[in-house]
């Protein structure tokens, strides 16, 4: 399925772009599976998702945990813990 992935703040700087459309293999159905799949892309991605820093996720603008299911057409965002206010 096809989804849109967004990156923000320190994570956007690490991957060096803010948005991409990706075609996922059939077995990538959750946020954690997506993290795993992205981490196979190379060092930048492996470093991002190696668990040393918290990477939060939102699906369609709602905060979710890594067990959340992804559906075709979803907008999935990755970002560091928020620091507004």
């Amino acid at each position: 399925m096809n989804i849109k992935v967004l990156y923000f703040a320190r994570i956007k700087e690490a991957v060096n772009y803010s948005t991409e459309n990706v075609e996922l293999p059939k077995d990538v159905l959750t946020v954690i599976a997506l993290k795993n799949w992205l981490s196979l892309r190379g060092e930048v991605w492996a470093n991002l998702f190696n668990g040393k820093q918290v990477v939060r996720a939102a699906i369609n603008h709602v905060l979710v945990d890594d067990m959340a299911a992804i559906q075709a057409g979803d907008e999935v965002a990755f970002f560091p813990p928020v620091t507004g206010g």
Binding site: L6, F8, A9, R10, V54, A58, H61, V62, L63, E75, A77, F79, P80, P81, V82, T83, G84, G85
Partner: protein
């Protein structure tokens, strides 16, 4: 309930005074109690942080999500406490030391509700609304780290029943 995300500054006196007086007309027809209390929080860019002078503070956000996240926080506050109105104004973009960053204001008939709701909104905004701060000092730029104390502040509300 209002949420505004903007790059431009806001006029604090104007915002609070409008809110203080605005529900007047509405009250007469639909509300039993009129505004007696208005609690507000203003956050501003510090001039010093961790011993370094701040040159600028840049706020990034996730536009499609921000509005939704803040409106959800206001709804939750309004469900928990008997408040009359709430306002969140949050700036984004590059700000200077002592610039206003955020205004949260809550009006109610009695003060206890407004104090609780205003602090609740701030605690949730700090931990749930998609904003990220980057500081520029003479030592370079750095992303602000999320604070453990903000998670603790939010967690306090999760054990509380509506009062």
């Amino acid at each position: 309930m209002t949420v505004r995300i903007q790059t431009e500054d806001f006029d604090l006196g104007h915002e609070l005074t409008s809110m203080r007086l605005a529900e007047h007309a509405k009250n007469k027809s639909t509300k039993k109690e009129s505004i007696g209390a208005l609690v507000s929080f203003i956050g501003q860019v510090r001039d010093m942080n961790d011993g370094n002078a701040i040159n600028t503070l840049t706020l990034e956000h996730y536009p499609e999500m921000t509005q939704k996240a803040l409106a959800a926080i206001e709804s939750e506050a309004s469900a928990r406490w008997d408040i009359i109105d709430s306002l969140i104004i949050h700036r984004v973009g590059t700000l200077n030391p002592l610039d206003q960053i955020v205004l949260v204001a809550v009006s109610s008939a009695h003060r206890g509700e407004a104090f609780s709701a205003c602090e609740f909104i701030m605690d949730y905004l700090k931990t749930s609304a998609p904003f990220w701060k980057k500081e520029a000092t003479n030592q370079g730029e750095r992303w602000i780290e999320a604070k453990q104390s903000d998670d603790v502040a939010k967690a306090r509300w999760q054990n509380k029943v509506k009062n």
